[in-house]
């Protein structure tokens, strides 16, 4: 049995799986159910000046029969009375003393409002604060949320206000609606934040009703940009996480990983790229809190298999593998190989390569099954055939180095080595 317990800035939880700030953490009822299901911690839905929400609020993207590949919301911060939230936070902490309870905050844009909100929140006994600099809909029109996160100077200023009074750990949650998360992250670290979390949602339109022509979600026939999340955003979140993990100014503080996580595998990937723990929202909204059971079980089995005793044994393990393109080895070369015994003759590799890549697959006509083989001399090793092949391990990429030594693009140019002639 591996030790799954997690310590994030001294905030302890029995596992590294927290629920992210959002609808699932809006009130005691949900959070109690989450803790009963086994979640290690929650980030309570953002507190601030009370707001009023619209109906409807969500829309989603389906893909080939799978619902909610991507999810979009136009819900604002908590629309409940602040007092109710604060009272319930206190009660939850008392009932589940071993779980982490962090509270997301978005005060109005003045120092006094922030100071007052932090004081009120700390009085609940909460273990940490998460600053919401990421909400990309509604709140941003009021100069808050992602509007703050998009401006490093303002973000830094607010972090400084917060750090003047905060006595518990402060996490700053970043918006992905920027060309790079690094400037704001750097500014927030300079401002004194104890940790970072990312990503918040990405501005989006999930689709349009082809009968009414109204984009989703429709509110009385009008729509507005929402925040995108769910499985579809995971690759974007991983990239943004990596960009903080490789940066010496931002990798000084722990990071909580968020964005499309729904399984232990996703969680492990975020942690391998430097996240100390992870937060989940959309997957729970689709399947309920029970998904944490396999997250715990799967992580435990994987850690046992790999011989990791604690989560810190593998956090950040993939970061050193990230490099710039120009450092990649140009003498490394792979070619595809089709295992004829496994091939079912669907032809997907062939048509992908023939139409869109390098015409490196040979077709030998058969009725009804064609035979497909790789033209090794034409194969550039792009992986496309392997990616579209529906059979596991049918297409594999074999290493056929062009030269023994490592040579990158800079060196390649310096030596005047030949480029393609066709």
């Amino acid at each position: 049995m591996a030790d799954l317990s997690s310590n994030f800035l001294g905030i302890k939880s029995p596992n590294p799986f927290w629920l992210a700030s959002g609808p699932p953490t809006d009130k005691k009822y949900n959070v109690m159910r989450a803790f009963e299901a086994g979640w290690g911690g929650v980030v309570w839905k953002t507190l601030g000046s009370q707001v009023k929400n619209v109906s409807s609020r969500y829309s989603s993207l389906d893909f080939n029969g799978h619902r909610v590949m991507g999810f979009n919301n136009i819900e604002l911060i908590s629309d409940r009375p602040l007092e109710s939230n604060l009272r319930e936070i206190k009660e939850v902490i008392r009932e589940f003393p071993d779980r982490a309870v962090v509270v997301s905050l978005m005060a109005d844009n003045d120092k006094e409002s922030w100071h007052k909100l932090i004081k009120q929140t700390e009085d609940t006994g909460a273990h940490g604060l998460e600053l919401n600099f990421g909400c990309p809909h509604g709140m941003n029109e009021r100069g808050m949320g992602s509007t703050v996160g998009q401006n490093p100077d303002i973000a830094k200023m607010i972090v400084e206000w917060v750090m003047e009074v905060a006595t518990i750990p402060v996490i700053t949650k970043l918006t992905p609606n920027v060309h790079s998360v690094v400037p704001t992250a750097t500014a927030c670290v300079e401002g004194g934040t104890n940790a970072l979390s990312l990503i918040n949602t990405i501005q989006s339109i999930t689709g349009i009703d082809l009968d009414s022509f109204v984009p989703n979600p429709s509110v009385a026939g009008k729509s507005t940009y929402g925040g995108y999340c769910g499985p579809a955003v995971k690759p974007i979140a991983l990239k943004m996480l990596a960009s903080l993990s490789v940066n010496k100014d931002t990798n000084k503080v722990p990071i909580s990983g968020i964005g499309g996580i729904g399984t232990w595998r996703d969680a492990v990937e975020f942690m391998l790229l430097g996240a100390t723990n992870i937060q989940v929202c959309t997957a729970a909204m689709k399947h309920g809190f029970r998904i944490v059971e396999d997250m715990i079980d799967g992580l435990n089995n994987w850690m046992d298999e790999k011989g990791f005793k604690t989560t810190t044994d593998f956090i950040g393990k993939s970061v050193p593998f990230m490099t710039k393109w120009e450092n990649l080895d140009l003498n490394y070369h792979i070619v595809a190989n089709i295992n004829q015994e496994k091939c079912i003759g669907c032809g997907l590799c062939y048509i992908a390569c023939e139409d869109t890549s390098h015409q490196s697959i040979n077709l030998e006509y058969g009725k009804p099954y064609n035979t497909y083989t790789i033209k090794e001399e034409d194969c550039v090793g792009c992986n496309l055939c392997k990616l579209v092949c529906p059979v596991d391990e049918c297409i594999t990429m074999l290493e056929k180095r062009v030269g023994l030594e490592y040579i990158n693009w800079m060196e390649y140019q310096k030596r005047g080595l030949p480029l393609n002639d066709h």
């Binding site: 029969g65 079912i344 003759g345 062939y350 048509i351 009725k367 009804p368």
Partner: protein, 448 residues
């Protein structure tokens, strides 16, 4: 023991003859199946389909919600795509070649998906095809079965005025009269025919039989071309004593009767022997059982390895409780008071392969007797050679001889379907009609 009708209640008949392959109940249900399809390139399912339906394309079109496009993809290759979705032995055609079989997974339910799109086209009466303005050419089609309807549709789309002469009172040929009712209903056959002729330019004249009130030479005179899609006739004679007794019936006539007269009016014995193991034999056996026969036994002179029906069909018969006796050949039908009392069979053994490549059975000399009161013969159909006697049409073993262009020895007479191939699948007949139409259009100088 007796042969009688009205054995069951109306509810029992309904239950016994309910749709064997149920349609998808909803779009979501169809999508679950659609999303399993890999969308193969140069797909095996398409390659083995006699009409070359672009299966991955029509399935993808269901996925995108373009059902009209999906129906067009199917019907432009096979105008009887709706009927074929019900009666095709897909286990040896499209579904049998689905690449998922190679992963030891269930193949895509292509027939059910095809039915999904085509049912919608029929139900919503979509005008998927446009007929070119009439060009003043006339073609007579003899037989409103799959090949004739397919040919007529292909011709009319190009502006040819088509008249179909049908010997029965309904169109559809064996689809209407010769296939198990739990696979395809007469109502569906009518709807499908209506859909086909809704294109315009096709007139069907019923109760018109070649050699009786219709002559080929008249048709040749009055039309620019003639297409013969007359199908095949009754079952081959067993040539054994007792064959003409009361209680010995022809499978085609038996199925015709139950489809034309209705279930309750169709008489069936208590103990029925069905001779043969083709699709028609299975259809006869299962339906005899479903009409209330107490015991139905299929008798076949070879073994399971040589059977002409598919495994799926055999399974239907087994699930219906039909008994099967392999390596048995009917020798004599014994009567009592002029009625069938028992069937004497020779025990057979397999010898060397015959011209069909299957091992040929020979008589061991041993016999056994089955107590039966009804014998249904389903040992392959005989061509309608008598209809064409004195017509000048050349036949080979009773089948119309055609060249690669579906042309008979008479220049403006074309033919296709069972009357040419001796009896294959509906889908083969549809393709033959399609090709026949193309040949006629070439002959008339309309296409190159």
């Amino acid at each position: 023991m007796a042969i009688k009708n009205n054995r069951l209640t109306p509810e029992q008949y309904n239950e016994n003859f309910t749709d064997l392959h149920t349609p998808f109940e909803s779009r979501d249900a169809a999508l679950t199946e659609v999303n399993r399809c890999l969308f193969c390139f140069d797909a095996p399912c398409t390659k083995v389909c006699p009409t070359s339906i672009d299966v991955p394309k029509f399935i993808k079109q269901i996925n995108t919600g373009n059902i009209k496009g999906s129906a067009f993809t199917i019907l432009s290759s096979n105008i009887l795509g709706g009927g074929c979705a019900r009666v095709c032995p897909v286990e040896k055609l499209c579904e049998g070649s689905c690449v998922l079989n190679k992963e030891l997974e269930k193949p895509i339910q292509i027939a059910r998906l095809q039915r999904y799109s085509t049912d919608m086209a029929l139900e919503k009466k979509w005008n998927l095809f446009e007929r070119k303005p009439s060009i003043g050419k006339k073609v007579a089609v003899v037989g409103a079965g799959p090949s004739g309807l397919s040919c007529a549709h292909g011709l009319s789309r190009q502006g040819i005025d088509v008249t179909i002469y049908e010997k029965e009172s309904k169109a559809g040929g064996l689809m209407t009269y010769g296939i198990a009712a739990y696979k395809v209903t007469p109502e569906f056959c009518r709807e499908e025919t209506d859909f086909i002729i809704s294109l315009g330019g096709i007139e069907i004249l019923y109760n018109q039989e070649l050699g009786k009130n219709l002559s080929l030479s008249e048709l040749q005179k009055n039309y620019d071309a003639v297409f013969l899609g007359i199908g095949v006739g009754l079952t081959r004679q067993l040539e054994i004593p007792g064959e003409n007794l009361e209680g010995v019936v022809d499978a085609i006539r038996f199925i015709y009767g139950l489809r034309e007269e209705g279930f309750a009016k169709t008489a069936v014995g208590d103990q029925v022997a069905v001779i043969g193991m083709g699709m028609t034999a299975i259809d006869a056996a299962t339906q005899a059982k479903r009409l209330g026969a107490k015991e139905v036994t299929l008798v076949y002179r070879r073994t399971e390895n040589e059977k002409p029906c598919t495994d799926v069909e055999l399974e239907i018969a087994k699930l219906d409780g039909c008994k099967i006796i392999w390596l048995a050949s009917p020798k004599e039908i014994i009567s009592e008071n002029g009625k069938v009392k028992s069937l004497v069979c020779s025990k057979m053994e397999l010898g060397a392969p015959d011209e069909s490549g299957r091992r040929f059975p020979f008589d061991t000399g041993e016999t056994f007797t089955l107590e039966v009161d009804m014998v249904i013969k389903a040992t392959g159909q005989v061509p309608y050679s008598d209809l064409l006697q004195n017509s000048g049409i050349e036949l080979t073993k009773g089948k119309i001889r055609i060249d690669a262009n579906h042309t008979s020895n008479i220049g403006n007479v074309f033919a296709g379907g069972d009357c040419v191939n001796g009896g294959k699948e509906v889908v083969d007949a549809v393709q033959a009609g399609k090709e026949g139409a193309k040949s006629i259009l070439k002959y008339l100088g309309i296409i190159e």
